[in-house]
Symmetry: C2
Subunit: 362 residues, 2 copies
Amino acid sequence: MDGVNSHLSPTTYHMNGGDGPYSYVQNSDYQKEVIDFAKGLLNEMIAEKLDVENPSFDPSNPICIADLGCSVGPNTFYAVNNIIEAIELKYKSNPQTPSFHVFFNDHTTNDFNTLFKTLPTNRKYFAAGVAGSFHRRLFPNSTLHFVHCSAALHWLSEVPKELKDRNSLAWNKGSVLHTSPVKEVREAYSAQFRKDMEEFLSGRAQELVRGGLMVLIVQGLPDGVLLSETTVGMGFCVLASCLDDMAKTGVVSAEKVDSFNLPFYHPSSKELRALIETNGYFHVERIEKLSTPWRHETPDLQLVGMHLRAVIGGLIEEHFGDEILDDLFQRHIKKLGESAFIYDEKYRKEANYFVFLKRKVA
Amino acid sequence: MDGVNSHLSPTTYHMNGGDGPYSYVQNSDYQKEVIDFAKGLLNEMIAEKLDVENPSFDPSNPICIADLGCSVGPNTFYAVNNIIEAIELKYKSNPQTPSFHVFFNDHTTNDFNTLFKTLPTNRKYFAAGVAGSFHRRLFPNSTLHFVHCSAALHWLSEVPKELKDRNSLAWNKGSVLHTSPVKEVREAYSAQFRKDMEEFLSGRAQELVRGGLMVLIVQGLPDGVLLSETTVGMGFCVLASCLDDMAKTGVVSAEKVDSFNLPFYHPSSKELRALIETNGYFHVERIEKLSTPWRHETPDLQLVGMHLRAVIGGLIEEHFGDEILDDLFQRHIKKLGESAFIYDEKYRKEANYFVFLKRKVA
């Protein structure tokens, strides 16, 4: 059958599992705050855009919700709760309220065992897990009513090959992300994101019912700002320089460092809007910048380090082996603490976009 | 919401995970043969009883299949494949064939991570995992078209309390199952099975569409035969006597042995039919005894031991601790080898029943 997810995910495309000190469960407060910031907008948009008269939203059938890139909780449980509360409010004046079927999706290597064991016991929905990349098809046609995807779309399906090719103009030596001043590097990242978003949107367009809703919370950049001009980007530059230090002292090979690139891309709101409009399956109902968590706080470097490790620890481990993990993240925290930018609010420019889409009916 | 599965499963109600030497993945050939034996009947019954004119089976919507008590594969993948092939055959003359959405269910402690990683890459269906006891609700109303449950319904939701109560007539001292000559023990087991089946059937009756189909493959007994008269039952008596030996030498406490009971029940076909008819939601389309795997072969005791350990290892470990596992299963294999009954075909009476049900329309 065409479109079924038979794509083998890279082994490391997942947050750290379990509930230990480096787990995502214990290190995802930032992402939780983003979800909190989005709650008001979510309520408002669901109230405005969910059409209870649409036969696909007939409350005698369950409302099917998918959280894509859900990781292991607890954030996904908060997000799903917010969505269900908002939808229930919308049906309040109806004689019948629908039941809810919630699908938690992430890569095959995600720790679904932990996810299932920590499902809220007082939940108001039937739950299922779906393993596979959201850049491929995950559900049959027209079976979802609401898709949520938070802090996940900046993950690319793969690192563009030319970044690792020393004969390419886009060879990303000395950098681990699109923080490079080299235009071709940024273009390679942006082209991959364009391709991935096109697959994501086209897949969801088939899976959502006509008139179905989708909220994306995307880690991005303000229009006209480069990643290298932000705290996040500069933080990754520091990470690259730590790897460079380790190469110089022979802890890791220089070649390993040169070939290491993170599969992340941070789009601007203009880019996002253009991609969605080019794709053509969705009405852009709203794109709005959310407040940024921790923006006005003196950063707790230990916490920043733990959060980063929960997210990219697996990628580091796969490329370099697990023996460098403690050393690298300790160096990183130390060097961050010695950098002036980390304490300077003016670089905290990263933008989380709230994107609310409606599947076109025709 | 009423009926959502918030039941916390006992920690050990699952087959051994992973793919090591004691895993279910490596030790489930018996169960695989049962599925093979059922294949012909399955094809025949689907051809006969699936009503493609039923609007719920309109091929423009996906056919939703659930395998309940699926464990970790590969058997569940064979079974699902057989079902899909049979349904596709049924739609062969239709201009449209449906897509398939398959839900793999087992207890929350099942190793879903392994299940997801081993999903066939060439599968013709969208897959999801559902964690929770099938004695509770698992899906919204009227969302399933076909339920399969093989070699799982003999698991009770719990061991009847009176079996552990030394003041009860049903105190099951010296036995680990309903092999006891004491009538009250058998009645306690059978009452629990009745209660569990009632919950199972009523839950599925809500979840299946009207006209939906269900196939149960149930490990049971021929009518009029007691468990203690079969190889399986006698094998469990040997296990009980090994535990008794270990209590006598002080390896385990006698009290621990007395309070250990397996949550299994082996019904007769008469019992099964009566329970389904009393429940009332399903037409019994067929109950048939399947051939029994390995019936005519000299048993490979090592293999028998490994299979048993893959299934009940977790229960033993929870009750006695993991330090007795090797010792107990070695004693068991040795003592089985010294027992005449194990080589005697006449005791191999256990019956696997193929039960085909159709959800009543009215």
